[in-house]
Amino acid sequence: MKNYACYLLSALLCCQLVACNKTNIDTSTTGTGGASQEVSSFSLAWSEYPSWSVFGVADENGLVDKDEGKLGSIEKKWGVDIVLKEADYDTCLTLYGTGTVDAVCMTNMDSLAPSLGRDSVAILPTSTSDGADACVAVGTEGVEQLAGKTSYGLEMSVSQYMFERNLEILGKSVDDYPFSNMDPGAAANAMQTGQEKIGSIVVWNPFVLDTLRKRDGSKVMFDSTSIPGEIIDMVVVGKDSLAKDGGKAFACAVIETFYEVNRLLADPETHDETLIALGAKFSNLPLEDMEIVVQQTRFYKSADEALGLYEAETFQNEIMPKVVKFCVDHGIVETEPAVGYGDPEAQLNFDVSYINEIQESAMPAE
C-alpha cells in the first residue's frame, strides 16, 4: 500500500514540474502583452567595443535608460523602452540566437550563423575595422619571415578572416602560414609575458595597442587597414522583433541614439569626456591611445556614411559574397544564408529604411 503512495507522489511531482513550466510561459506572454499597452519594451545586447560602448555612454548621458520601465529622452521621443543588456561578446551572440534579446551588436561575419536560425535585419552599421585587427609578431622583420611560424588567434572569427585576406592580398599561400586557435586575451597575455612559443598573434583592440606597448620588439605585420569596409560592426534586430508593436520605433530610436552620441564625439566641447567614457570599460588605454582606437575602429557617424556603405555596389556584390564564401569554406555556416539588401524575404537583410527614416525626420531643436 505504501509503495503505491510512493508512486503516486512521484507521479504528482512530475505533473507539477510540467505545470510549473506551463504557468511560466503563460505569465511571460501576459507580461509582454501587458507592457505593450503602455510602451513596448525591446532589449539590445551589447559588449564593450568602441562603437558599441556608445550605448553604455548614452545610458550615462540620459539619452536612453538601460532599465526596463524607465525612459531616457530618446526613448520618450519614440515612445519605446530600450532595455540595454551588457554581456561578453560571445554571450551576446548566444542571447540573440536563442531569441532572449530582440537586438544585438555584432559583426557582419558573425551575423551569418545566427541568421540561419533567426531571420535577421541589419539596421545600422556602427563602425568598420580599419587597423583595429592586426597580426603582431615578435622577432620577425616582415611577412616573408613569418612563413612557417604559427600565428595564434581566435578561429572562425574576424581575426582569421583578416589574416587570410591579407595573405591573399600579399599573394601568399595560406598553407605556408599556420593559424592556431587561442583566445585573443590569452594570446596577448602570453606574448606580453614573453612566452617563447607565442611569436605571432592575431588579435583585436585593445589587445593590439596593449601588446605593442608592453612587449618590446613587437611589430605589426599587417592589419585591417588593407581591408576597410570588410569587417563591419553592426546592430542587428530579429525580424520577429521588428514585426512586434513598436518594432520600427525601436530600430529608429537605436539609430538616433547612436548618431546622437556621435554628435557628442564630434563636438569639441564634449569630445574628450565622451571619448573617455567610451574607453572607460573597454580598456585601460590612456586618452591618446583611445584617439588611435577610434581611428582604427572607424565609426559610421552619420546616416550618409551608413548609406554609403550599405548601398555601395562593392559592398553588396563583392565584399559580402567574399565574407559568405569565407564562412562556408571554414565551416562557420554549413549552408549559405540568403543575404539581401532591402529584401524582406532574405534571412540576413541589410535594410536602410530605418536609417532613411532618421535622416528624413530632422533632429528636434533642443
Partner: protein, 274 residues
C-alpha cells in the same frame, strides 16, 4: 516512512522514470521552440541531433586513412583523446602530489605546521582566476593543463587526506603496530594508508568535477583541440546540436568514471561497506 527500504525493481523503475521525465520534458521544450520558429537551432530536435552527430564523426575530406582508422581524424575522436589525456595526466599528478603531501602532513607534525596555512589559503582560490601566473610558469602547452588540474585539486585533496590520516586512524592501531616492531614506513603504508584508502578514493571521486571545470575553462581559452575548444567555437556559432551531444558525453563519461572509482573502492576495501 523515512528511510523505508524499497525493492531493487522499484529502485530501477524510479531511476528509469526520472530519465524518461527528463527526455520527455526536453522533447516537449524542443517541440514548442520549433513551433515558434521551425528553424530554431537552440533546442535541437532529433533530426538536428543526427546532423550534429554526423558532423562530429565526419572524417575530413583530405584524410588518407581508410576504414575505421580514418575515424581517428574526426572531431569527436580528436577531442576525446585530447581532453581525457589532459584530464588523466592532471588528475594522476594531482593525486600523487596530494597523497605524498597529505600523508606526510597527517603523520609528521612539523610538515603539518608547514603546509597548513598555504593549503587552506589556496583551497579557496580558483586556479582559473590566476591563469596569467600559470602562463609564465608553465607556458601554454600540455604542461599548463596538467599543472592547472593538479594544483587546482591539490589543496582540497591534500587537506582531506591529511585530515583522514590524522583523525580516522586510532592511536591504538598505530601503537600496536609499533609494539609489534613495525618501522615508520610500515606503519604509514600498512596501517594508516590501508585504513584511509576508501576515504582517499571518495575524495578523488569528488575532485573529478572541479578538475573538469578547470580543464574546460583552460581549453576555452588556449587550445585548438578538445572539449572546451569545441564547445566555445560551436556555441558561438549556435550549433547547439553539437554542443549538447558533447555535454551528454561529458556527463556519461563522468558517471562512468564515478562508478569505476566506487567499484575500485569496494574491491580494494571491502571492509568499508557501501
Amino acid at each position: 516512512m523515512i528511510r523505508q527500504p524499497i525493492s531493487p525493481i522499484t529502485k530501477i523503475v524510479l531511476g528509469l522514470a526520472s530519465v524518461a521525465c527528463l527526455i520527455a520534458a526536453y522533447a516537449w521544450l524542443s517541440h514548442r521552440q520549433h513551433q515558434i520558429n521551425p528553424k530554431d537551432s537552440t533546442i535541437p530536435n532529433l533530426s538536428q541531433f543526427s546532423d550534429g552527430w554526423e558532423r562530429l564523426t565526419r572524417v575530413p575530406a583530405k584524410s588518407e586513412a581508410e576504414g575505421w582508422s580514418s575515424y581517428r581524424e574526426c572531431w569527436l575522436w580528436e577531442d576525446l583523446g585530447a581532453t581525457y589525456g589532459r584530464l588523466f595526466l592532471g588528475l594522476a599528478s594531482g593525486v600523487i602530489l596530494s597523497l605524498v603531501v597529505g600523508l606526510a602532513m597527517g603523520c609528521f607534525t612539523p610538515i603539518e605546521a608547514f603546509f597548513v596555512p598555504p593549503l587552506s589559503f589556496f583551497a579557496k582560490i580558483p586556479p582559473t582566476a590566476m591563469l596569467a601566473v600559470y602562463f609564465v610558469i608553465f607556458g601554454t602547452d600540455i604542461e599548463l593543463f596538467v599543472a592547472l588540474i593538479a594544483l587546482g585539486i591539490f589543496p582540497t585533496l591534500a587537506q582531506a587526506i591529511y585530515q583522514a590520516a590524522k583523525k580516522d586512524v586510532s592511536s591504538h592501531a598505530i601503537d600496536k603496530a609499533y609494539t609489534l616492531g613495525a618501522s615508520h614506513a610500515e606503519v604509514i603504508w600498512n596501517v594508516i594508508f590501508r585504513q584511509i584508502l576508501p576515504r582517499i578514493i571518495e575524495n578523488i571521486r569528488l575532485q573529478i568535477g572541479p578538475a573538469m571545470v578547470f580543464l574546460i575553462a583552460a581549453e576555452w581559452l588556449l587550445t585548438d583541440v578538445g572539449f572546451g575548444y569545441r564547445l566555445r567555437i560551436q556555441s558561438r556559432l549556435l550549433n547547439m546540436n553539437v554542443v549538447y551531444i558533447y555535454l551528454v558525453i561529458l556527463g556519461v563519461t563522468g558517471y562512468l568514471f564515478d562508478w569505476l572509482l566506487s567499484l575500485a573502492r569496494r574491491k580494494l576495501s571491502p571492509w568499508f561497506g557501501e
